[in-house]
Amino acid sequence: MKYFWLILTLAAVIWYIFVTAYVSFKGVTDIKEMLKKLGDKDRSA
């Protein structure tokens, strides 16, 4: 069981570092697109 927790801890830290970097980058694009679509909806209403 000790090795199970070691592997899980390593996987958690590595996965979290990767996801934080990736989501930080891609999330900005999502925000820009979302605000653009909402702005367009407001103008067309």
């Binding site: 070691l6 934080t20 999502d30």
Partner: protein
């Protein structure tokens, strides 16, 4: 004595707060309809959804009780995280319930439930959700305040304001709540999503930095040895832990499966997604975060045990350890990360419970369609009132007893019945209002009865023998059985009673 430096660390925290508030207030101009306010116009994409879901479901309260679980049970205390991650992966991959839920275009779960069970069940479900949710959330502010006061190391507990003695804890959390409520009231889900994103980044950087520091300076060997010495094999395996065992594991599986399906703040991300496929992707890709959510603070808790030894107040062990372990500079990032975690949770919770009050509990009073302007105004007022409730209930009213038991009981009151109602409304045409009411009553009665038994001196020992896990399992099983039995008992149309 702590390592918190008011000039350096305080500036980092202040800068973070300023940027978050500005971003939250900036997007309010995009809110013109109730849909924009409650579900961000359903324009949320995958990565923003991941950031928002992760930030919402990790608050200071989460960090405190998961660290406490690590301190008290070792690695076995992280079991709920594995149960939650697996539940989210399976539900996200298969679309079980969440696909029909998102495809139906509803704003809340009770709205979908009404289609099969009628308006009375919708109203009752709304009341159960709000009661369970708000009582659950009621303790967030106080626990968040406890963490901040401990880690900052305020020796003086109160100050004089115009002749009144005001506690630092109360003042700190009041100011924080007013800030969070301001951008949530003005920008609704849009402000919540934007600030959640910023909070996810700050929170994650802080969590990762502190975890690496713990792993390097406390060391993996010392962490493992501490668990071995204090808890033996039970510290690694929940099935052989004397205080946990199989009832704990089964209860965690049921609780977390139900939470992933129906917890309003979690499901709100699926409902705000631009389509059901996006909602499913958010679930699949966020699932492993829930292992981190329990394991990372759990390791901090074990490190606290390794460094401090046995302490009386196990909830305060982790912040006490961090207050002297984290160096100046990184301490500011750590406090900002925890503030970020707390703010994102508070804002989302206020908005989503508010959405159920507006959409379901107030539904009978909206016979005539309200204008968008009036709808937004009412929603803003509801969020403000929830803020007032939180302030008085959570901050000025002292909580007695164990936090996790409190959260588990209030959560089960809602989760057991609403998960049964949701599954039935999606996949069982034979389910009806008798079954729904039976399910709601049994799911609420069992945990409440257990709490009463536990608090009554004459039945305290009986409650101890039953234990919270058997009582929790009984709530889920009886709720499901009540749905089946009462649905079958209800006479069909045309039959005489």
């Amino acid at each position: 004595m702590t390592n918190f430096n008011w000039l350096l660390d305080g500036s980092i925290v202040g800068l973070y707060l300023l940027i978050t508030m500005a971003a939250g207030l900036y997007v309010r101009k995009y809110v013109s309809k109730v849909d924009d306010f409650l579900v961000a116009g359903r324009e949320m994409n995958v990565y923003l959804g991941i950031a928002s879901l992760a930030a919402t479901e990790f608050g200071i309260v989460t960090c405190m009780y998961t660290a406490e679980a690590g301190y008290k049970y070792g690695f076995a205390g992280a079991t709920p995280g594995i149960a939650m991650a697996l539940s989210m992966l399976v539900i996200g991959y298969t679309g079980f319930c969440i696909k029909p839920l998102r495809d139906s275009g509803v704003i809340t779960i009770p709205q979908l439930i009404e289609k099969q069970f009628g308006p009375r069940v919708r109203w009752a479900a709304g009341v159960v959700i709000v009661l369970g949710g708000l009582l659950n959330m009621g303790v967030f502010l106080r626990i968040g305040g406890q963490f901040l006061v401990t880690i900052i190391g305020l020796k003086v507990t109160s100050f004089n304001l115009w002749g009144f003695q005001v506690g630092y804890l109360e003042a700190m959390m009041t100011v924080l709540l007013i800030g969070v409520a301001t951008y949530t009231i003005l920008g609704g889900m849009l402000s919540v999503l934007i600030t959640d994103f910023l909070q996810f980044v700050v929170m994650s950087v802080g969590l990762i930095a502190v975890t690496l520091l713990v792993l390097v300076y406390v060391g993996w060997d010392k962490i493992v040895t501490t668990v071995e010495v204090n808890y033996g094999a039970g510290g690694f395996n929940p099935f052989v832990h004397p205080d946990l065992g199989w009832p704990y594991v089964v209860f965690q599986i049921m609780l977390n499966f139900a939470a992933v399906l129906t917890w309003q703040t979690t499901i709100a991300r699926v409902l705000a997604a631009k389509d059901s496929m996006t909602g499913q992707k958010i679930y699949v890709r966020t699932s492993f975060f829930f292992v981190c959510r329990f394991l990372i603070p759990g390791i901090w808790g074990i490190a606290a045990l390794a460094t401090l030894g046995q302490v009386t107040n196990t909830l305060d062990a982790m912040p006490t350890f961090l207050s002297t372990f984290v160096p100046v500079g990184l301490m500011g990032l750590c406090v900002a990360a925890m503030l970020a975690a707390d703010m994102s949770t508070d804002s989302s919770y206020m908005l989503t419970w508010g959405s159920v009050i507006y959409n379901d509990i107030m539904a009978p009073f909206r016979k005539k369609e309200w204008s968008e302007k009036k709808g937004i105004l009412i929603n803003r007022m509801i969020v403000a009132l929830i803020g007032v409730f939180l302030l008085f209930y959570g901050l000025w009213y002292p909580l007695e007893g164990d936090v996790w038991t409190y959260l588990g009981i209030t959560g089960t009151i809602y989760l057991a019945s609403i998960s049964v109602l949701l599954i039935s409304s999606c996949y069982w045409k034979g389910a009806n209002s008798w079954g729904a009411f039976g399910s709601i009553i049994f799911a609420a009665a069992i945990p409440v009865a257990f709490l009463v038994l536990e608090k009554t001196p004459g039945t305290k020992d009986l409650a101890k023998q039953i234990g919270p896990y058997y009582s929790g399992i009984a709530a889920y099983v009886c709720s499901a059985l009540a749905m089946v039995i009462f649905s079958l008992l209800k006479p069909k149309k045309g039959e005489t009673t």
